[in-house]
Subunit: 199 residues, 4 copies
């Protein structure tokens, strides 16, 4: 009888729509993903969509915020570690694990192309900043521990690690036969090789 919103039900519905959106955006790009197509995929009416998200961009922001939140969770999980190299390896492993969902690469690619929509750019930047902050923190510690090269400052090393992790995601989205399973070990080795530095 209670007219109160069931927060659990509400959140479940939200995630259901986000999941559908991930699928559709990954397959067709952001502009190609019409709200109608997302609603069809989610099995809801068009009105319901706007009941859960204020605008189409609002949905995108929610997805990006979800990703940024996951970086925070990862940071918390690593907080206790003493060994910088173990933390950096964990970060790389997490990236490989994320890449196992074939939609992620397509989604990243699709969203990267949304440069208008200032709010999306800001959210993208926030996500990037969170990733870089986490990396820079552990890279700094690793440099202090003499475990990674010091010819480049930690934030530039972070840029290059991001280059490798992002490039990896996009390769998977782009190239037939380039899979997280097979190429994951090469990524690990390449990142570590890069951090070890030239000889």
């Amino acid at each position: 009888m209670a007219r109160t919103v069931d927060p659990q039900r509400h959140e479940a519905r939200r995630l259901q729509i986000i999941d559908a959106a991930l699928t559709v955006i990954s397959a067709r790009g952001y502009e190609g993903a019409t709200t109608a197509a997302i609603c069809r995929e989610a099995g809801i009416g068009s009105g319901t969509f706007f009941h859960y998200f204020p605008t189409k961009v609002g949905l995108l922001l929610a997805i990006l915020a979800l990703g940024t939140a996951e970086v925070g969770e990862l940071a918390e999980r690593l907080a206790d570690l003493d060994e910088p190299m173990a933390a950096l390896e964990e970060i790389v492993d997490q990236a490989i694990a994320d890449a196992a969902d074939p939609r992620v690469g397509g989604f990243v690619l699709a969203v990267a192309a949304v440069m208008h929509e200032p709010k999306a750019v800001a959210a993208l930047q926030a996500d990037e900043d969170a990733h870089r902050a986490l990396l820079t923190e552990w890279l700094t510690r690793a440099q202090e521990a003499g475990q990674v090269r010091t010819d480049l400052p930690a934030d530039r090393l972070a840029s290059w690690v991001r280059l490798l992790l992002d490039g990896f995601l996009e390769r998977i989205a782009t190239e037939e036969g380039f899979t997280a399973e097979r190429e994951g070990p090469v990524l690990r080795e390449t990142v570590l090789g890069f951090l070890a530095g030239a000889h």
Copy 2:
């Protein structure tokens, strides 16, 4: 007497439109780049656009074909070289030079997100194939000469070099302060380090 087609004038106009399109697509993405905006940037009327390109996709295909043709030109320039490593370094240097045009990264990113439009996908694939074929050819020779690692076959090495070169382009498009000038040497060193293999 009759105003015959001046092929030179025609080609110049075409390139002018393509240049404007590069600017606009790079800034707003493919879907965000309306034909009206491209026309405004190029300083032409809307009808003129469709006088030079059959459709908006036609313009995209023309740009991609231009890029693929440039790979062919690079291949020809390298054909005479005897030293595989010199050729590979030349390929990397070319990528760094391309990345100096700040629009290229944004354009690549924008176009990578155009998954519908089968013809664009095909052209993108053709471009990718041309790049990979060139790389694979010289990587194979380098392996035969014992100059690069052999724990991975040449085509997988090519995938990883492409990952680095593409990632480099996109970093420049994305990250403030990550410039071709400053990071180019790191790219060179990283590619060569990767090809040298682990120790």
Copy 3:
């Protein structure tokens, strides 16, 4: 709770748009009848139009299908008749009644000129076939009963009756003062005279 589709409301809206289209097409021809003009006449927004019909051609096909369906209804009404001449007179009377809507002639004329759009041509042919089939059937019976001339086969007689009925419709659309009311009896007499044959 949910606003389910009310099929009655939906059909009413459809007919409202079709009615507006009849008016506009009849007055300006098919190409001259812009979707904007039809929407204005129907008092709806442009989006609503495409909510009810997939394309402008789709609307045309729907109108033609409606007409063809009416031929079927007429055929059913006649099915019980024993007297061929009574059926043929009924067909002529129906044509006269149709011609009372002054838009019908203009519409027929306008649509007859749509030769591209293969689907429209097919629908037009289907409509023509339905009319001819009905006529040919009753003309055959009338010939067997010795009530109409036999110097021409039934299907050629059908062509000529169609010529008279169509021509009648178009005269009304074209000629000021040529009205269904005044000229209807002449049509009746002329068709019957033609079917009786020369003397």
Copy 4:
């Protein structure tokens, strides 16, 4: 050396364009007949078109005027005749002969649908008026000679003869197998039967 226009050459070019237009309009309708298509058919450049006709409508008016002029020529040829029925038969025979050009039916049909363009409507009306005037004149004489029915005034008889002649043209344009050759005699007989009147 004289810069004077060669009127013969000019007129020939005009007729060449009109002929091409007849072909294209007959096949695609008036709106479907783009100036570009007409130029292609005529083997001229787009600029040349507008050198001979001020607008696309201007071309249409020229064609219609040509047709109206032919009615005048027919009227002159008949002027000497003493026998009204012979003149009327000649008019019908002329219609049958016109119908032998398969483009005429399609053209009439196409143009009949151009109801906007007030000037075209006026030209169409002038053509119709010329036809009716000629018919009415001879029908009046025939009535005075007691050779055709008098239960309808001459101008209404003219309407019905026009109905038959127009319908004949359109049938040919519309119906496969309905040819001027085969159906011409039936037309003759039907017109004369109608004029003889009921019994």
